[in-house]
Structures are given as C-alpha cells and as structure tokens.
C-alpha cells in the first residue's frame, strides 16, 4: 500500500511541476510587475526545467 501512495505522490509532483509551468508561461505573456524584456528572458529560461521534467526527459 505504501508503494501505491509513494507512486501517487510521485506523479502528483509532475502535476505540481505542470501547474507551475502553466503559471510561468501565463506570466511570461501577462503580468503586472517587472514587465521589461529582461524578465521576459528570465521567465522564458525558467520554464525549461519544468517542461523537461513534465515530459519525463530530465
């Protein structure tokens, strides 16, 4: 049973990573503060690990 719960938690983390990725993409395009190009670049590269994780690549 613990193995099942462990697996469930494992996959929940991919869901969490996916939700964060969604907000990062959303905020890249529309946000209230730090609207300059610099933070656009920061947003863009910070999305990378979340995407690679939810695609089971890294």
């Amino acid at each position: 049973m613990l193995v099942f719960w462990g697996d469930l938690v494992h996959y929940l983390y991919f869901v969490i990573a996916g939700i964060i990725a969604f907000f990062l993409v959303k905020n890249l395009f529309k946000r209230e503060k730090r609207n300059g190009l610099v933070y656009d670049i920061v947003y863009a590269y910070c999305i990378i690990p979340f995407v690679l994780r939810i695609l089971f690549i890294k």
């Binding site: 959303k26 209230e32 730090r34 933070y39 590269y45 890294k58």
Partner: protein
C-alpha cells in the same frame, strides 16, 4: 590550468558586475555569467587537453540544481498567501499583540517561532516564507524600524537553518566524510542561543512599543467567523506532516515539503470562513507566482552559474586556493571564504570547502564533530552575500524593505560577526568544545 581558470574567474566576475549594473536583475546576471564563462572556456579549451563538452546540456542541467527548492518556494508561498488571504494571519497577529504586553516577551516569542520551520526543514528560507511576514508585522509594532525588522527576520532565518535537528550543511559534510550525524545538537544550539539572545537585545534595545490599543486599532479586523480552529488547523496540518516525516517516516510515503504546503493550502481553503470563488483563489495563486518568481529565478539561475563554474574549473580554483592555504591563513580567512562560498555555491559550500577541511583537521587529530558544527555556523552568514544572496533577498522582499541592500547588510553585520566569532573560536579550538557533544 591555474592561468586559464583565473582568467575565466576574472571574466565571470566582470560579467556579473557589468550585468548586475546594466540589467538590474541578479537572476539574469548569474545566468549570463554562467553562459559567458562556459562559452569562453569552451573556445579557450577547444582542441587542448582540457577540452570540455559544448555547454548547452550542462547549463540546462544547472537549472535543475535547485529545482526542488524552487518548487518548495512556490508551494510555501502559495500556502502563506492563501493563509493571509483567509484572514488567519491578521487574526494571529491581533491575538499575539492582544495577549502579550511585554515587548521582550513578544520579541522572544517571535524569535522562537522563526526558529521552528527552519530547524525542522533545514531551510531558513522556509522560515521566512512561512512566518517572515507575520513576524515582521509584530516586530514592527514593537517599535523596531524597517531596517531592524528586516535584520531580525534575516538573523533568525539563518539561525533557524543552522538550528538542530536538521542542519543541511552539517548533514552534507557528514555525508561526504562518512561521519554519523550524531552529537551536533548542543554544539549548534548553544551558539545559536547566544546569538539569538544577543540579537533580540541588540535590535530591540531603545525601541518603544506602541500602545496595544493603537496597534489593534491599526490592524485590519479579522473575518467574523475566524476562530482558533480555523486559525490553527492549517498550521497544525503542515507541522504535523513535517513531524510525521521526521518521527514516523516508515509509516508514511515521502511527501516532501512542496506537497506538505499544497495539502496545507487545501486546508486553508476549507477553513476560510468567507466562501471564495475559484477565480478569486486563482488570482491569489497567480499573484503569488508573480511575487515569488524573482526568488525562483534566483535559485534556478544560481544553479546555472554553479554548473558552469564546475565544468570550466572555476569552482575547483576557489576550492583549491582556500584549502591549500597555510593553517594560520586558513584561520584568518575562513570567515571570508566560508560565507563567500555560500554566496556562490549555496549548500555546495559544505561539500567543496567543508568536507576537505574536515578531512584535513581529522588528520591533525582535531575533533571533526566540532569543526563540522563550526563550519555549519559560518556558512549561513553567506546567505546574504552575492551573487545568490537567497535568504537576504527573500527577507527584504517578504518584509517589504525599501532601503538599500547595503543598509540591510550594515544592520545585520554585528549579529553576523558575533555568530562568526563564536564559530571561529570553535573552529580554532575544537578540543575546548567537545563537552558539548
């Protein structure tokens, strides 16, 4: 190799300084510095005996160094912001201010509160996330200036990270050195208690508490149906899950801090006396993401910088320069190198600087448990130093400090110096402190 890596180090420092000035973003400055260092090194080493892989994979891999930490930050922030949004934070503040009349008692309580999350999780940033805002509000009402309030939160955040039972620097050093993580409780707790008491007096001295009635009048009203159950249940669930992980680890799956905070967030929503729509909660989470993003970007970017420094040999240069110093110079400079390494490498400092020192002192017959504890008290000081300055930045943002970062550093200098001095004495004369094991 010394020449090459020194040139690369200089290029990286210059790149960081220029980017920081021009772009006004420490996150991108660290990432660019990492990219510049890696690319220059790639072409510098090309065709030679030190030829490295083209750095794309390494730089992207760096984004994963602190990936879990970034997710923890997001989830902790979501929990705290939802908790505040429910009005529970206001209610807690009102109850605390209403219950305790004495400034010193309240400051001591706030200090003790701050220590708990970091002591249980090993991360001072979690203390700031979870309690920083609340503590700052109360401390301000005790008459402390914004600068002193920020210093108060920061000092207790770094003390909480060093505080037993979970001290990550010590754990990493003991893991590297194949030492059991045993015998550190009193060795860490005593200096932390001394610095903590000193900080309360140092920062609280001369401040004048405003009358209780005035504070309560200024504080927003808590929602009508907010009762102790609604206030405490989310906190009890979060702390309960953390304690379960520590004390019943074989009966529960590994939940991890992020999911702990997510579960806590659901409890907050359930306990909210005011029924809110999905859209309203969505906005809170979205605002939280925007608020916490600079910190997320910082920890991800510092990973890029670290990966780059590792690949091109600059990390090795820093490490070897320090650990091959003569013993006297080592004693003289450890308080610079230790925190500096923490600023550059965060917990990597324990592995790169800490572990070799522990081995070295072991061969000299010194007590490695005390040496390990001493180093674990020095590294946290670097949490306010560039390039990463993670806890420092987080504290300023959480407290809403508007002054310059340098003025904040000046305010924390004396408590940090005391912590450093105590650690240095332990480091130089470990034999004297073996009674605390």
């Amino acid at each position: 190799m010394y020449l090459y890596t020194t040139i690369l180090f200089v290029i990286m420092v210059a790149s960081f300084v220029i980017c920081s000035r021009k772009l006004k973003s420490p996150e991108i400055s660290m990432a660019i510095t990492g990219v510049v260092g890696a690319l220059v090194a790639y072409f510098m080493y090309l065709g030679g005996e030190y030829q490295i892989d083209f750095p794309v994979r390494i730089l992207v891999e760096g984004l994963f160094t602190n990936f879990d930490l970034a997710i923890s930050f997001v989830c902790a922030s979501v929990f705290v912001n939802l908790y505040s949004y429910s009005g529970a934070m206001t209610a807690v503040t009102r109850k605390l201010v209403g219950t305790f009349d004495n400034k010193w008692i309240l400051l001591t309580f706030m200090a003790a509160f701050m220590l708990v999350p970091g002591a249980l999780t090993g991360a001072g940033s979690i203390s700031v996330f979870v309690l920083g805002g609340l503590v700052a509000t109360v401390v301000r009402y005790m008459g402390l200036s914004d600068r002193k309030t920020t210093a108060f939160v920061f000092i207790f955040a770094i003390l909480s990270a060093a505080c037993p039972p979970i001290n990550l620097w010590t754990m990493m050093m003991t893991a590297q050195c194949n030492m059991p993580y045993v015998g550190f409780t009193k060795l860490l707790a005593l200096p932390i208690a001394i610095v903590g008491i000193f900080t309360i007096i140092y920062l609280g001295w001369g401040s004048k508490r405003e009358p209780k009635e005035k504070i309560l009048a200024e504080l927003p009203e808590a929602p009508e149906k907010m009762n102790m159950l609604r206030i405490l249940l989310p906190l009890v669930v979060v702390i309960g899950l953390i304690l379960l992980t520590l004390y019943a680890p074989f009966d529960v799956p590994v939940i991890g801090l992020p999911l702990t905070f997510i579960i806590g967030s659901f409890i907050v929503v359930l306990c909210n006396p005011v029924k809110r729509t999905f859209k309203e909660y969505f906005k809170v989470v979205n605002d939280t993401m925007e608020q916490v993003f600079p910190l997320v970007a910082t920890v991800l970017s510092v990973g890029v910088l670290q990966s780059s420094m590792t690949q091109i040999g600059v990390k090795g240069l820093i490490g070897v320069t320090f650990i091959t110093l003569p013993l006297v110079m080592l004693y003289v400079t450890v308080l610079l190198f230790g925190p500096f390494a923490q600023g550059c490498l965060s917990y990597g400092s324990a592995i790169i600087i800490g572990a070799p020192l522990v081995f070295m002192f072991n061969t000299r017959g010194m007590d490695t448990t005390v040496v390990c504890a001493a180093l674990s008290l020095m590294f946290p000081i670097g949490d306010c130093l560039p390039p990463s300055r993670i806890t420092g930045r987080l504290t300023c943002e959480t407290v809403g400090y508007q002054g310059s970062y340098m003025s904040f550093l000046k305010q924390i200098a004396i408590p940090c110096a005391l912590l450093g001095a105590l650690a240095l004495v332990m480091f130089i004369t470990p034999g004297t402190f073996t009674f605390l094991k």
